[in-house]
């Protein structure tokens, strides 16, 4: 993976520990399980497929953890790169993109006006449907940025694009979403 300079890596101490004692990998696993799972789910649209891709990602990461080197890239970019490859395999095997829309997401219900909550939940569903209609590379950028909190540099390392290209994809994705949401 190409060097990504400038992002401090908060996981480096735990990565070093896992390289010395593999049982310490559990710390990284628990830290990133939900995020990797979310990435897989939002791209595949199916809980079982997302679990399968998540499992493959962590088993592959454990198998390769000894080879991870701090070369300017962050551990999480490296981990999501593995997940990205697993997703590519899953999508190739499926030969079509999604079997289900992203409606299986549970809405976080805040205490308050039930009617307002229903409106909020419907709006969120509309946004997710619009995200599901994005081109795959744009959807990946949106999910990695908004769900997983990766920087443009890290996303570039994950999907194999430059930082500038990621920002352009992000811009275009939001423009597409604005157009899709305006049509509803």
């Amino acid at each position: 993976m190409g060097a990504v300079m400038g992002d401090p890596d908060p996981d480096l101490v735990d990565v070093r520990a896992a390289q010395v004692d593999h049982s310490a990998f559990g710390t990284l696993y628990r830290r990133y399980l939900d995020r990797v799972y979310g990435y897989c789910f939002y791209l595949l649209g199916d809980h079982h497929d997302a679990e399968d891709a998540t499992e493959r990602t962590f088993l592959a990461a454990l198998a390769a953890i000894d080879r991870y080197r701090d070369q300017g890239s962050t551990f999480r970019a490296w981990l999501f790169r593995i997940a990205h490859n697993q997703l590519a395999n899953a999508l190739r095997a499926r030969s079509r993109q999604r079997t289900a829309p992203l409606d299986a997401v549970m809405e976080p219900m805040a205490p308050g006006d039930p009617a307002a909550e229903l409106v909020q939940a419907e709006e969120a569903r509309t946004v997710r449907r619009a995200v599901a209609l994005l081109a795959e590379d744009r959807r990946q950028v949106i999910v990695l940025r908004f769900v997983d909190g990766l920087s443009a540099r890290e996303i570039g390392a994950v999907i194999g694009r430059s930082e500038g290209a990621v920002r352009v994809l992000q811009h275009r994705a939001l423009r597409d979403l604005a157009a899709l949401l305006a049509r509803r």
Binding site: H22, F25, D34, F41, H47, A63, E123, A124, V147, H171
Partner: protein, 122 residues
């Protein structure tokens, strides 16, 4: 030096602020977004609310935890063997010798037991 950030760079900066909890208005103003780009920050705010981090199910988490633990144990056993090839050879040799010994004893015992029957059958 990059004197003028591009629209995409300014938008990225504003998105970072929205993800950090700033309001779209504050983020837009801080990033210096023009009027045509500001609506995209409203969209970014809507996306942030619509795509929560999804917790994996506890059952799946437990199963994967167990698989990783098993994978760690087998990796550690292999690593130990690779680090100590001499001990591995000795362990294998002792194991084989014990196996040969037990087999030889069993054959010897069975031959001792069946010997009187052969005499009786004469």
């Amino acid at each position: 030096m990059n004197p003028t950030p591009s629209v995409a760079e300014r938008l990225d900066h504003a998105i970072g602020q929205v993800l950090g909890g700033a309001s779209p208005a504050v983020a837009s103003a801080s990033a210096g977004l023009d009027l045509t780009t500001r609506p995209l920050i409203e969209v970014a705010e809507a996306v942030r609310g619509a795509l929560p981090v999804l917790p994996a199910s506890p059952g799946f988490e437990g199963r994967l935890d167990a698989r990783l633990t098993g994978a760690v144990a087998s990796r550690d056993a292999l690593a130990w063997a690779l680090r100590h090839p001499g001990r591995l050879i000795v362990t294998g040799a002792v194991g084989s010798a014990v196996g040969v010994g037990v087999t030889a004893y069993a054959v010897w015992r069975s031959s001792r037991r069946s010997a009187p029957h052969r005499f009786l059958g004469r």
